[in-house]
Symmetry: C2
Subunit: 458 residues, 2 copies
């Protein structure tokens, strides 16, 4: 380690010999693990940083909660007072949500403290004001734990791949929905039944909205897209569909096609007419041969494709107190080392200022399942409807009572009565597919549009 003194900053005169002092905001699932590691691994952490670290205070909501292993003298309910303490060098925010987290982080950054946070919701809602404050104070804002738990994905995007052109980031970044879809697949049960089970097992929260409606994944997608494409992307820019509408029948259909249904976050760079960013979260059919298809339970995985590196994959535990704390601790050592060296790590990179493309401009292929009148000519009407919107068909499969094997368009058997048509399109614009589906709904021969699902990773 070099012996250069700390940078002088609004944090008050740094004590080059004494320990670096850490304020921990929140002591729940993640925070209690961070507190434990900071205490138990203090000697190793100090050696890695080049200076001792010390847990100087912990802000919580309730002082009277049982907290095994935590020194009660460290606890306070005055989080604001804690981040304003002159002697605090590093602040770890693991409260979550927008407020008071934002105010606390800004207060810390403004006085020159470095901040580590796991707060994807806040970063995706208002990351730029935090980055601006960090930049202005010449201090660090690190957030490896905000996406995909223990999996190092922020650093690879911010640093390892920063000399390359990333074209796609596609990931399973929400463990709760992955657990639910997995269970629906293996047990053959419906969504609500599986959600209840997930809640009982602690994989889903009492209010599961953030997970099952895709808000959590959308926040992560916004963070990933911002880093990958050097452009500010906020949660509200992300097209979002959750998994509440996924049925047992969808899962069975996917299985019959050699696919699985996953909730995916997809960030791509579109080429035409100028590079634009597209970010979306939705359930999709993924071929079983795709590596993301094998990501089970509460695990996460992120695929990255770039011009020079090619295809990379990162895999690991996506959540949980201990894995998330590992990511927080990695950031904590990094920002502490920076501080010892009087340095700071990379700031926000949003110079490219690319436009966010609307979902209608996304190009992908679709799986469409229709209940139709099984009369001569129905296939012609349906096919015509797709053709009119410029959507070409890859396979059409008719399922009667028993289901028939996949056949080409021309071979579909039309015998009268009621039948099910299962169609997979070639790549098409989302807007064209939507218009097709709208029109299909109006065709007298179409009894019902049973499901429409994107097909990814084929």
């Amino acid at each position: 380690m070099t012996d250069r003194p700390d940078r002088p900053g609004p944090a008050g005169p740094p004590d080059a010999e004494g320990p670096l002092r850490v304020a921990l905001l929140g002591c729940g699932t993640v925070g209690s693990e961070v507190a434990r590691l900071l205490t138990e691994s203090a000697a190793d952490l100090g050696a890695r940083i080049g200076r001792p670290v010390e847990l100087a205070g912990i802000a919580v909501r309730r002082l009277n909660r049982e907290r095994p292993g935590i020194d009660p003298a460290l606890l306070t309910t005055d989080a604001q007072g804690l981040v304003e303490r002159e002697d605090i060098d590093l602040v770890v925010e693991v409260i979550g949500g927008i407020e008071p987290a934002r105010t606390l982080i800004l207060a810390a950054l403004n006085r020159g403290a470095a901040v580590v946070t796991a707060n994807k919701a806040l970063l995706a809602e208002d990351g730029s004001s935090l980055f601006t404050a960090a930049e202005r104070a010449g201090t660090d804002l690190y957030f490896e734990a905000a996406v995909a738990g223990a999996i190092p994905i922020i650093r690879p995007l911010r640093e390892s791949l920063v000399g390359d052109e990333i074209t796609t980031v596609m990931g399973i970044v929400n463990g709760t929905t992955n657990f639910i879809l997995d269970r629906m697949h293996t047990e053959g049960v419906g969504f609500s039944e599986t959600l209840t089970l997930a809640q009982e097992l602690g994989y889903a929260e009492a209010d599961p909205t953030a997970d099952v409606e895709g808000f959590d994944a959308a926040a992560k997608a916004a963070i990933l897209a911002s880093l990958a494409f050097h452009t500010r992307v906020r949660a509200e820019d992300v097209h979002r569909e959750g998994i509440t509408e996924v049925t047992r029948a969808d899962i069975a259909t996917a299985e019959a096609m050699g696919s699985v249904i996953k909730l995916v976050a997809i960030c791509t760079l579109t080429d035409e007419p100028e590079p634009r960013v597209s970010v979306r979260v939705h359930p999709a059919m993924i071929p079983s041969s795709h590596p993301l298809a094998a990501v089970g339970g509460a695990y996460n995985a992120v695929f990255v494709e770039s011009r020079s590196a090619g295809r990379l994959m990162f895999y690991g535990p996506g959540a949980g107190g201990s894995p998330t704390a590992s990511a927080v601790m990695g950031d904590l050592v990094t920002v502490a080392r920076n501080r010892v060296r009087g340095a700071s790590g990379p700031g926000e990179s949003s110079y490219a200022r690319r436009q966010v493309a609307p979902i209608g401009d996304v190009v992908t292929s679709y799986h469409v399942s229709l209940s139709v009148a099984d009369v001569t000519g129905v296939l012609a009407s349906v096919a015509h409807c797709f053709a009119e919107h410029g959507v070409s068909l890859q396979t059409v499969r008719q399922e009667g009572t028993g289901g028939t094997p996949a056949v080409t368009t021309a071979e579909v058997h039309e015998s009268g009565g009621s039948a099910r048509l299962v169609i997979v399109t070639h790549a098409a614009r989302d807007a064209d597919l939507s218009a097709t589906v709208e029109q299909l709904r109006c065709l007298p021969e179409v009894h019902e549009v049973i499901s429409v699902m994107r097909v990814e990773g084929a």
Copy 2:
């Protein structure tokens, strides 16, 4: 970007407004791609760094070689003169080998330039003198490209997981041997035939020693172990066995056991009596269900297990000009950003100074294949020999002409004549297994010890 000036250093007065100047040492497979990216992506790189970068000179061996897209005015054979140029801020070393690479890197670091290298051989042989020079000059030495090509693995170990306790790193880090073993498996052909094919296809070099004897993987293992365990580990500390002895029969036996043979680099932290580091490279049987088993062709993958994060995997292209250049460029932008901020990244962390355990102390399980006299009592003698050395048996399988299904020890059929015994042990000390094998060789009932292979990832 902050506006703090460059640190004053032996590199001469920095020009805060002008471009950062890059010297490229070597312009072969990797270097030519780096040169191309530096030229073609100059605008993006400048925006990401916060200051323009400029390729200022390229050192090569032969001036008269065809180099499409390279400005001949940049070329020189005077590498030493190039790194000593006062205006050079950043040096990229992609010559390879020990000398002149070491002398050039040291010269660059000593005058305060930041260095990016892909040179695993040098880092594993004499990394500490390079790190010491970087530390003394307060400058950066980055080397993401030295292990597993485009896969971000150095940063995750140096930074993302630095707050955690890594217990195991296990990887497929040599594409050539992975390609050869893969082919032997799928085509059912022998080692030398496959090596010739790999050479024809450009997957193996004319002199394949570094790859097939495990030297390349051992260098990478040394680098990974040093980072994971905060201890200096050199290539010579790594127990190394190549793939030249792997036979078609081994591959077939592995297949019969539901396994594949992979050349793996394994770095572990042993617990008893005090934490020691064990680093080894050898072919091993891996169960087909293990994610590393599916890593095919020239791809690389690295598994990391740590106390808090759990099990992580990193996967991607392990070599090739373009993927390796991606890793070099990521480092280049990172060290350039550091320079603009007057900062430097993490240095060597070797405070733990753990002992390297000899291979004899490694504990794992083994697959042993014996040709024995098929007489009553042979199994008892063999089993006794294992027991005497404290190695307990998991399964014993007797293969006659046709091969018989797996049976437990007691059930092995002994009918006289000649037979093959295939044994899988429980976890045992390597030294005990070696002693067992030595003794087996002396047993009159044992005609031949056909193969001994470690079983990993079970």
